[in-house]
C-alpha cells in the first residue's frame, strides 16, 4: 500500500493558516474523499447554466423561494435515507411512506376534525410504526432491505389509495400546516435567525477550539476558523437578504417577503440530526455498522438495534416530508410522495456525497444534493416543456452521481 498525500500531510508538520488548510483539503480530494465538492460544483454549474439562459425568471427571488419549497420534501426524505444508506441498506418505500403519513394527517384532521397536535402525532406515529416493522424484517429476519421495501413500496401505494378512497383528494385546511410551506418569517425574524445561526456557529466552534487547546490537542489555525465563519456569514446573510426582498408580482395588493417557514424547519432537522450522527455514540455505531458490521458486533454493539432505529428514523422523517407535501399541495392525493419522489431523494443523498455502499455520508449531503436535484427540476421546465427531456436529464445526473461515488470509493480503497 502506498502512502497517500493526505497521510503525509496528516503525519508531517501541519502547515499553518488558510493556505495549509486548503493544501490539506486538496490532498484529501486526491485521496478520493470528495466530500461536498461534486454537489457544490454541480450546483454552481447548473445555476450558471440556467442563469445565463433564463436569467430573469430563474434568478428571481420569487423562483428562489419556490425552489426552497420544491426541494424541501426531497431534502427531508433524503435526510432519513442517509441513516439507512449509511448501513448499506435502502428504503424504496420512503416516498409512499410520506404519502401514506400525509393521508393519515389529512383523514384525521380534515375528515375527523382532530386537533393539530393529535393529527401530527398520528402522522408521525404512522412513520415510526412503518420504520419499526421494516427494521424488524430487515434486522431480525435478515430479509434484504431491497426486497422488504420493494414490497412495502407497492403495499403503501395501495394503502394510500385505500385511505384516500375514491374521492381523489383530501383537502388540508389547517392554517398551521398550510403556513409551513406558504407563509414566511417576518423580515426582522429572518435577520434574527441569520444572526443566531452565524453567531451560534462561531461560538460553538470557538468553544470547541478552546476545549481542544486546553486538552493539549491540535487545533485548526485561527485564520482558518475566521475564514470558515466568514464564508458561512456571507452565504447566510446573502440568502436572508435575497429572501427578504419583495417577491410579489403585485406588491401593492399582497406583499410576499421573508424566509419561508420550511427553511428554519430544515435547519433544525439538519442541526439535530447532524448532532445525533456525529456527536453521540449512537451515530458512531451507525457508521461502524455500515463500515464493518462484524467488527461492530464484536465490539459489543447491538447491530440489530442500530439497524431498527435507523429504519425508524428514515420512516419518521418521511412522515415529516409527508406533512410538507400536504402543506405545499394544500391536499393529499394518491400520487403524493409517488412518481419520482423516492428516486430523487436517493439521488439527492448520493449527489451530496453519501455512498450507496454504506459507511460514508453526512446529513448536509441531503441539503446540497437536494438543492442540485431541486435546481434541475426547477430550471429544466424553464428551458423545455418536453417531459421526455426532463426525465432523461434527471436520470443522467443520477447516473453521474452514482459513478462518482463508485469511482471515489475505488480510489480510496486502492489509495
Amino acid at each position: 500500500m502506498t502512502t497517500t498525500p493526505a497521510e503525509q500531510v496528516a503525519e508531517g508538520q501541519e502547515p499553518g493558516g488558510v493556505a495549509g488548510a486548503v493544501h490539506a483539503y486538496v490532498d484529501r480530494l486526491r485521496g478520493g474523499d470528495l466530500g461536498s465538492l461534486p454537489a457544490m460544483l454541480g450546483l454552481a454549474a447548473l445555476v450558471l447554466l440556467f442563469g445565463s439562459l433564463e436569467g430573469d425568471r430563474f434568478l428571481s427571488s420569487f423562483n428562489f423561494a419556490n425552489l426552497v419549497g420544491q426541494s424541501a420534501m426531497v431534502i427531508v426524505i433524503a435526510m432519513g435515507l442517509i441513516f439507512v444508506l449509511l448501513l448499506g441498506e435502502i428504503d424504496l418505500a420512503a416516498g409512499f411512506t410520506a404519502g401514506m403519513c400525509a393521508a393519515v394527517l389529512g383523514v384525521t384532521m380534515t375528515e375527523h376534525g382532530w386537533p393539530l397536535a393529535l393529527g401530527l402525532g398520528a402522522c408521525l406515529l404512522t412513520g415510526v410504526v412503518v420504520g419499526l416493522a421494516q427494521g424488524v424484517l430487515v434486522a431480525n429476519l435478515g430479509i434484504p432491505s431491497f426486497v422488504v421495501t420493494l414490497a412495502t413500496f407497492l403495499a403503501f401505494q395501495g394503502v394510500l389509495l385505500l385511505i384516500i378512497g375514491d374521492g381523489g383528494t383530501i383537502g388540508i385546511r389547517d392554517e398551521t400546516i398550510l403556513a409551513i410551506q406558504n407563509d414566511n418569517l417576518p423580515v426582522w425574524g429572518g435577520w434574527l435567525l441569520a444572526l443566531v445561526v452565524v453567531g451560534g456557529y462561531a461560538l460553538l466552534t470557538l468553544m470547541r477550539r478552546r476545549g481542544r487547546a486546553a486538552a493539549g490537542l491540535a487545533t485548526e489555525a485561527f485564520t482558518v476558523w475566521l475564514a470558515k465563519t466568514g464564508l458561512l456569514a456571507v452565504v447566510i446573510l446573502a440568502v436572508t437578504y435575497f429572501l427578504n426582498e419583495e417577491r410579489s408580482r403585485r406588491p401593492e395588493i399582497t406583499s410576499i417577503k421573508g424566509i419561508p417557514y420550511v427553511l428554519p424547519l430544515i435547519l433544525v432537522l439538519f442541526v439535530g440530526l447532524t448532532f445525533l450522527l456525529t456527536r453521540t455514540n449512537f451515530g458512531r455505531h451507525v457508521y461502524a455498522v455500515g463500515g464493518n458490521a462484524e467488527a461492530a458486533r464484536r465490539a459489543g454493539i447491538s447491530v440489530v438495534r442500530v439497524k431498527i432505529i435507523c429504519f425508524v428514523l428514515c420512516s419518521t422523517l418521511a412522515a415529516v416530508a409527508g406533512i410538507l407535501f400536504a402543506s405545499r399541495d394544500n391536499s393529499v392525493s394518491p400520487t403524493t410522495g409517488g412518481t419520482l419522489t423516492l428516486l430523487l431523494a436517493v439521488g439527492a443523498a448520493v449527489i451530496g456525497g453519501t455512498s450507496l455502499f454504506g459507511g460514508k455520508g453526512r446529513i448536509v449531503d441531503a441539503i446540497t444534493g437536494g438543492l442540485v436535484v431541486g435546481v434541475i427540476l426547477n430550471g429544466l421546465p424553464l428551458l423545455t416543456q418536453e417531459a421526455g427531456i426532463q426525465f432523461a436529464v434527471t436520470g443522467a445526473v443520477l447516473l453521474i452521481a452514482a459513478s462518482v461515488d463508485a469511482l471515489s470509493r475505488r480510489r480510496s480503497v486502492s489509495g
Binding site: 500500500m1 497517500t4 493526505a6 497521510e7 496528516a10 503525519e11 508531517g12 485521496g31 476545549g211 481542544r212 486538552a215 493539549g216 490537542l217 456527536r279 453521540t280 455514540n281 458512531r284 455505531h285 457508521y287 461502524a288 455500515g290 463500515g291 464493518n292 462484524e294 467488527a295 461492530a296 464484536r298 465490539a299 459489543g300 454493539i301 459507511g359 460514508k360 480510496s412 480503497v413 489509495g415
Partner: protein, 270 residues
C-alpha cells in the same frame, strides 16, 4: 505452588499470570486437547506454536471464553476462575487480537480504539478525552509509525492496522494480550514494526501469547515457546535454551532429543 502475592503481577513473579493444567476439550468424538498444561507470565512473550490441527485455536478460544474447556484447571493470577464467555475474559483483563483485526475502515484510529466503549460527556462523545487517551496508549507502546490518530483506518498500511488493533487491546488496562498470527499478512519492514510492538507489550509488564507459524518471528521475539503436538503440550521451553531445528522437531514429531513427549507418548499420540 506458593501463595499468590502482589509481586506476582509484575515481571518474573513466581505465580504465572495464566496457568492451565490438564486441559481437555472434545468436539463430539474428536479429542482436540488432551491434557494441556501452559504457563504465561507477566512481562514475557510466550509463543504458542504447533502444526495445523495441533489445537492452538481451540486452546486460545477456551482462554478467551469462546469455548468452554471440558476438564482441567484455569488459574488466573494464581486463582481458579470460570471463564464462560468473552465478557468474563475481558473483565479479567484478557484481550484477543484476531487475525482479521475487526476494524472499521471508515472510522479513524481513535474511533476504532474506543468502538463500543466510547467515553461520554453527558449524551455526547468526549472526543478530546478519547483522543488524548488513544495518543497516550500509542505513545506508551512507543508507536512512531502512526502520526495522526485522526486518519481513517482505510488509509493505513497493514502493519499500522495491526498496531491499532493491538493498541485497542491494551487500552483497557488489560493484563494478558493474545495475538493470533499478527504478522501473517505483512511485509518484512511491517513485520519488524509489529514484532517490536509485541516486545514492547511484554516490556510494559503485560503477559503476551503469540500464535505464529513463523519460527523466525518466534525465535526473535518470544521469551519462551510452548509447542502443541496433536492436542498435547510437547514442551514449554525458554527460547534461549533451544535451537530452531529442535523447535521444528518438537512441532513435527512431538519430541527432540531429551525434551518433549516421551517416545511412548508421542507414538500414542499418532
Amino acid at each position: 505452588m506458593s501463595e499468590p502475592d502482589a509481586s506476582a503481577a509484575t515481571a518474573g513473579g513466581d505465580t504465572p499470570l495464566l496457568e492451565l493444567r490438564g486441559i481437555h476439550k472434545s468436539f463430539g468424538a474428536v479429542e482436540v486437547l488432551r491434557g494441556v498444561d501452559l504457563k504465561v507470565r507477566s512481562g514475557r512473550v510466550t509463543a504458542l506454536v504447533g502444526d495445523n490441527g495441533a489445537g492452538k485455536s481451540t486452546l486460545i478460544k477456551g482462554v478467551a471464553g469462546i469455548h468452554n474447556f471440558d476438564a482441567g484447571e484455569y488459574l488466573y493470577e494464581g486463582v481458579p476462575v470460570e471463564v464462560h464467555d468473552p465478557k468474563a475474559a475481558n473483565a479479567l483483563g484478557i484481550e484477543v487480537v484476531y487475525q482479521d483485526l475487526a476494524l472499521c475502515n471508515n472510522l479513524d484510529v481513535v474511533h476504532n480504539m474506543f468502538l463500543g466503549r466510547e467515553v461520554m460527556k453527558g449524551i455526547t462523545l468526549n472526543e478530546d478525552v478519547m483522543e488524548a487517551r488513544a495518543r497516550k496508549t500509542l505513545d506508551g507502546l512507543a508507536v512512531r509509525t502512526l502520526r495522526s490518530v485522526r486518519q481513517p483506518v482505510a488509509s493505513l498500511s497493514g502493519g499500522q492496522r495491526q498496531t491499532v488493533a493491538i493498541a485497542r487491546a491494551v487500552l483497557w488496562n488489560s493484563k494478558l494480550v493474545i495475538l493470533d498470527e499478527p504478522t501473517a499478512a505483512l511485509g518484512v519492514a511491517q513485520t519488524e514494526q509489529v514484532l517490536r510492538l509485541v516486545r514492547q507489550l511484554a516490556d510494559n509488564g503485560l503477559g503476551v501469547i503469540l500464535i505464529s507459524h513463523n519460527l523466525g518471528d518466534v525465535m526473535q521475539v518470544a521469551d519462551d515457546i510452548a509447542v502443541l503436538y496433536l492436542g498435547q503440550l510437547a514442551a514449554q521451553v525458554d527460547t534461549k535454551d533451544v535451537q530452531r531445528n529442535q523447535v521444528v522437531e518438537l512441532i513435527t514429531a512431538g519430541r527432540s532429543g531429551d525434551i518433549g513427549l516421551s517416545p511412548a507418548m508421542a507414538e500414542v499420540a499418532l
